[in-house]
Homo-oligomer: 418 residues x 2
């Protein structure tokens, strides 16, 4: 069978199975994902053994230690997956929920009902935990899922998909509720993103070049996660202690993630008071400071930032620092140079905070809190399949509700259109 | 200037203008669109004159009478546009609305706020009323808009865009709140759908081949309107008089539109009682009946339907008729052969209605009402920029709310992530 045919058949099977999932009761969906947790524990040894093959290959081909860490599955991580599944079991099922009820003058009762999206394609890199996390969230929200994971995790994914399939079979559900594209051939992605006949949405998780390629070429609608060039603006009415803690946390607590702060904008009136201490503390923690000229007058050890710096997501212990003359200038800078991911103001001035929160156009905006809170668990969604930085459908962390669509449900007693 | 550069510049200008619209007060937005209405009345003669050129060219190139009717602008239609604008002025502004407020254990207050989508591209055929309708809805919801209308309406659109620009200037807003791609060169569409750097969404309105082309090639997210292969299922507990009225209305009231019924599924137990009268009435109204074998036993004059018929949107006085043995068979048929647009059940059995409404996966599902009600005005949205048949972002009629996105708004008092 050609690769094209293989991917097409899997997409078709996943779509066909979606009709049975569409109306599955919450009880049965919970039974299914609980059984997945049970099976993960029962097959821990097989999974760890399969993962060891991937780890060995990964070391051979020279994967970085960060990538090897993402690839690793051990007993503790399997317990982590199981705990995650238990949390998802406890979450409310959005499917069937009614919202926006109205009555029309002609007597029609109009409601909207949450329904599954249908068949979801997930394209991700060599992080085998996504295989379980994504499958469980898709199934709980009544969707079926076609998985395409990074080739470096192929053995781990095979073992995990075996677990998923066993649980599905034992619950008497169509085996194609979950399908996995079992090939390391990268062109499978190219075929998968053209399956608009069968797939309702594709969620890519991975590097920006991969995501951009998928957005540009996919005929299936995409929900995508863009860059995180996140800002903290310290206003002239800021509590400077709080500002220092928030900036230090947002930059250094986990610098490789998308909601870490990359830029610090400071109102010029408080710059001399605020900057020396925080910049020294950041530098002592190994953070490279790239600043504009006026900051360098205050903190001479800073490197000079280039224009490119203001657009950049460093993903690293680097921070760009800039003075601004007003909150308006800060907002404009963030909207033009930022990536509309997570941006924060630190200020005790309520009006300034309101203005910032209203006018900065990002997936999450914060007043007096770290940008690191832009996360499904931290914002109370209970679980997260990713963070969307696009404007359609879902923006910010995506939980179970964001894995559903809706339909108009209209009840009448014989109404016809005049 | 090359066409590519021209389109790119307009997209860039529309995006730049979107930052001013993003936070414009409801009052100012209403003042703007009210002024558009005023200007339409003041320039009625110029608009009708420009339209006469398009009508003349249209007749020369042999446009059908249906297309000429869509192209026509007269005084009465301008009054219609003005009335429509007044209705939009009266609608609530979704921008800034807060929903889904929660408090986190660490004291963070988490809310979602509705915000404009940003810069919207509208691609449409030779229906110049869309120029005004779409611009007004986009502006009211805080968006800017790049218009690309059908070449047969170029003179009408130029006159209408002049009106829009005048109103924008007089209100002191950036002129590029509305831009128009003033060329009849069809390749402008190809350039426009690649402007993901500037456009936040594209809404195509037009023929299915055009929409499919845009979905396949656009790197900008698309909200699209698919086919309407709509069904009415008459269950065994149906009020047969109501069923007859609903079927007759949904098929014949306006057969060329997307929410007209194309298929009639009838439970076999009531077929002999129900079918003869309704099929005769439809035939007398000029409707061609294409039926399966079992229907032809009851109503001999029907043509035999082919498998292709079950997939087809006729847009015409034709109906496909089929017997089913159960509600399950009806639901399965609709989900597999239908286009997920508008589907109805007629039944006095509440359980059957609930089952149908829950299990049929369409943008709008109806119990005991005509499919013709799948419309923004009829369902209470107050206005409509189109009907979405896709599952992401908006499904069913799209009003002002569907022209917005949301962002997480988080307020704290110094929280950092541990």
């Amino acid at each position: 069978m050609t690769l094209k045919k293989l991917v097409e058949n899997k997409a078709k099977a996943v779509k066909a199975a979606s009709w049975e999932m569409y109306n599955l009761s919450t009880e049965k969906k919970n039974a299914l994902i609980s059984r997945i947790a049970y099976k993960l524990l029962a097959h821990t040894k097989d999974i760890v053994k399969a993962n060891a093959l991937d780890m060995e290959n990964g070391r051979k081909i020279g994967l970085s230690s960060a990538l090897l860490d993402r690839l690793l599955i051990n007993e503790k991580r399997i317990y982590g997956m199981v705990t995650g599944i238990k949390d998802v079991v406890a979450l409310p099922d959005p499917v069937g929920m009614i919202h926006d009820r109205t009555y029309r003058p002609n007597g029609l009762k109009v409601e909207k009902m949450r329904v599954p999206l249908g068949a979801i394609g997930i394209i991700y890199e060599a992080r085998p935990n996504v295989t379980i996390d994504a499958a469980v969230l898709c199934l709980k929200s009544g969707n079926t899922v076609l998985l395409r994971g990074g080739s470096e995790a192929i053995n781990s994914n095979r073992a995990l998909v075996k677990v998923l399939k066993e649980a599905i079979k034992e619950e008497g559900l169509p085996v194609s509720c979950v399908e996995f594209i079992d090939t390391t051939d990268r062109s499978a992605v190219r075929v998968m993103i053209k399956q608009d006949k069968y797939l309702d949405v594709i969620i890519p998780r991975g590097s920006q070049p991969l995501i951009k390629y998928i957005i540009g070429e996919s005929s299936v609608p995409v929900i995508a996660h863009g860059e995180g060039n996140c800002h903290i603006y310290v206003g002239k009415a800021a509590d400077l202690n709080a500002a220092e803690e928030i900036v230090f946390n947002a930059k250094t607590q986990r610098p490789s993630v998308c909601n870490a702060a990359e830029k610090l904008l400071v109102h010029k009136d408080i710059a001399r008071k605020f900057l020396p201490a925080i910049l020294k503390r950041l530098a002592d923690a190994g953070v490279e400071i790239r600043a504009d000229k006026s900051v360098r007058v205050i903190y001479k050890k800073a490197k000079l930032a280039t224009e490119a710096d203001w657009y950049k997501e460093y993903h690293d212990l680097i921070i760009g620092v800039k003075l601004v003359g007003s909150i308006e200038e800060a907002i404009k800078h963030i909207n033009i140079f930022g990536s509309h991911h997570s941006d924060a103001i630190v200020s005790r001035d309520r009006t300034a905070c309101d203005k910032f929160l209203r006018e900065v156009d990002s997936s999450a905006v914060f007043a007096n809190a770290s940008t690191r809170f832009n996360d499904g668990f931290e914002l109370g969604l209970g679980a997260e399949i990713g963070i969307s930085t696009q404007k359609l459908h879902a923006r910010g962390p995506m939980g179970l509700t964001e894995l559903t669509s809706s339909k108009f449900v209209v009840r009448g007693n014989g109404q016809i259109r005049k």
